[in-house]
């Protein structure tokens, strides 16, 4: 230590460097200024930070793929309730760590997108004031019916009804999902297609085997029936 106060002057130099530098390098900015932006032009999803002309932003997050806020339910076609993927199996309700999902199963079955009669959720409520965005429901869902939304502008003056999302609020199309999480959605669709193909192949093989078995059985039966008269004759 040579000069008393030398450390303080050195520190001041750093502060000055950061102060001046913040006008030239966005790395040195400590905050992003959004205040000038009108409220209707604020981003709605994580990853949507459209940089406007002349706006200097510290490199805001470019995340689109894994960003998550609250869950949503997927449907495949244009008519949400006819193509809903959820079959109200209630696994997510059971596994949800903060217990924020409430499901009521329908009493009768209805055809889903695959043309298969299935149960559907008569009620599917998620209390987003309880939800902690952990994504466990997405991981346990065997039907790929529930995935994470990235919409975060959900503030409401009504803290009870406004934060309780009903089934119809949660329903979003698969296209919407592709829009917000392109890579993840593509990977998921690929996996579903593969599983479906594998299932169909298995079904085909099973059908083939069943047909063969039936043929053999028929043959055996025919042989047996051919044989039976003999037996009957013998019996006589």
């Amino acid at each position: 230590m040579s000069l008393l106060g030398g450390g303080i002057f050195k520190g001041m130099a750093v502060t000055l460097r950061n102060f001046v530098g913040s006008y030239f390098y966005k790395d040195r900015l400590t905050t992003n200024d959004y205040s000038w932006r009108p409220t209707d032009k604020l981003p709605q999803h994580a990853g949507e930070y459209p940089k406007e002309e002349g706006e200097q932003l510290r490199d805001a997050t470019t995340v689109t793929n894994y960003s998550r806020n609250f869950p949503m339910l997927l449907h495949d076609g244009s008519e949400p309730m006819d193509t809903i993927r959820c079959v109200a199996c209630q696994i997510c309700e059971r596994e949800c760590p903060p217990q924020c999902i409430y499901i009521e199963k329908s009493t009768e079955k209805k055809e889903n997108a695959g043309g298969k009669p299935q149960f559907y959720p008569a009620k599917f409520d998620i209390d987003v004031s309880v939800c902690m965005s952990c994504q466990i429901c997405v991981e346990v869902c065997p039907f790929d019916a529930i995935v994470m939304n990235s919409q975060f502008e959900l503030s409401t003056p009504d803290r009870f009804g406004g934060l309780l999302l009903r089934r119809d609020d949660l329903l979003k199309s698969n296209d919407y999902y592709h829009n917000i999480h392109p890579e993840e959605a593509a990977a998921r669709d690929k996996r579903i297609a593969e599983e479906k193909a594998a299932k169909e192949a298995k079904k085909k093989a099973a059908a083939e085997a069943a047909r063969k078995k039936a043929e053999e059985k028929a043959k055996a039966d025919a042989e047996a029936s051919e044989g039976t008269p003999d037996i009957q004759e013998d019996a006589e």
């Binding site: 450390g7 520190g11 790395d27 470019t62 793929n65 894994y66 596994e95 902690m132």
Partner: protein, 358 residues
């Protein structure tokens, strides 16, 4: 003081008995943030308490996840793929940078430098949190680790961005050291304040940077060599143990960040391709066993003690929080000091109330 005093890092109360400005007696009171974490976990599937571990020490969700995953992996003996191990090390060391950089910021904030150093620290922290968000989807509550690996692989280009952040971090550290380490005000406020002797630190079970600042060379990364830490070259900074004051604790953390960067560079160079999730069973139902898994969290030894009884829920679930155990010596360090010093002594312990109260 407290529970809503801004210098207590959360809801924490100190019953302080004073003689003028000198602390005569001090009794920490905590439990304001108790959330019943351990009992909740006992009524939940093993995977279900993973997101709750994020909320223990909310600065370091990645290492919390890791400690829990490590304990659970011991229960069922899952192989972790190599890439997942590398990514875990990268995440843990980034977490250490996040923790130490924000701790130093808060510590200086407690000293009275309102804003400036803290904002510089948060600026750098934010770059790392962006990386976390890209990989796991959340900045702080990452919930990224799974038994046997990680939830998903990092997105394309993530490793390059991480390398970019890691390469630029030393520049910031140099500046930060220039700003703080020789500053006369900091020297006079921290040197000789809140001394913790080597013997007391050992007998009180202190771990982490605080123990190393008191002169004990003990780091679980070196002792246990869990995961793949035996593959990396790094040193463990510790002092000669003569003083063990606030300045030592501050400097140990500054030096530890340099070592973390060294580990990160090696890990980013050594990482290969491959799967990130091992052969984890779909239904996690371990045989009856008792395990203790521990990691070197940025604050000290974070351990999870699990007793399985053959059901999908743990029979007993216990967290060994470094913050709580490091806090036990607060009284011994504060006695005879001034009130203003008690604040920075608390700051130098580095507690997070989410972990103290659980």
């Amino acid at each position: 003081m407290g529970p809503h005093h801004p210098s207590t890092h959360g809801v924490f109360r100190m019953d302080v008995k004073l003689d003028g400005e000198t602390v005569v007696d001090l009794q920490p009171v905590f439990g304001y943030l108790h959330r019943n974490h351990e009992k909740l976990a006992e009524n939940m599937s093993y995977l279900g308490s993973m997101p709750f571990t994020d909320r223990l020490d909310y600065f370091n969700s990645m290492t919390n996840n890791w400690a829990y995953a490590l304990a659970a992996e011991k229960l069922v003996e899952i192989e972790v793929p190599e890439r997942a191990d590398y990514l875990r090390v990268i995440m843990a060391e980034l977490t250490r940078l996040v923790n130490h950089v924000s701790l130093v910021g808060f510590f200086i904030n407690d000293l009275g430098a309102l804003g400036t150093p803290l904002l510089y620290a948060f600026r750098e922290r934010e770059k790392i949190l962006d990386l976390f968000e890209q990989a796991s989807g959340a900045r702080m509550m990452c919930n990224y680790f799974r038994f046997g690996g990680l939830r998903n692989d990092v997105p394309e280009g993530w490793l390059d961005r991480a390398r970019d952040v890691v390469d630029h971090f030393p520049v910031f550290l140099d500046e930060y050291e220039q700003l703080l380490c020789e500053n006369e005000i900091i020297l006079s406020r921290t040197q000789g304040v809140g001394c913790l002797s080597r013997d007391l630190a050992i007998s009180a079970g202190i771990t982490g940077p605080m123990l190393r600042a008191s002169g004990v060379n003990y780091d679980i990364r070196k002792v246990d060599k869990y995961s793949i830490y035996d593959r990396f070259q790094f040193r463990v900074p510790y002092t000669d143990g003569n003083v063990g004051d606030c300045y030592d604790r501050f400097m140990v953390r500054m030096l530890e960040m340099r070592e973390s960067i060294r580990i990160l560079k090696q890990a980013l160079d050594g990482i290969g391709d491959g799967p990130v999730l091992g052969n984890a069973p779909k239904v996690f139902k371990p045989k009856p066993a008792e395990v203790y898994g521990r990691v070197e969290a940025p604050k000290g030894e974070l351990g999870f003690y699990l007793i399985a009884d053959g059901t999908p829920k743990p029979y007993r679930y216990r967290v060994r929080p470094p913050s709580l155990i490091n806090l036990t010596v607060l009284r011994d360090m504060c006695l005879g000091q001034k009130v203003a010093d008690a604040v920075i002594i608390l700051g130098s312990i580095d507690i997070v109330l989410g972990e103290v109260d659980r």
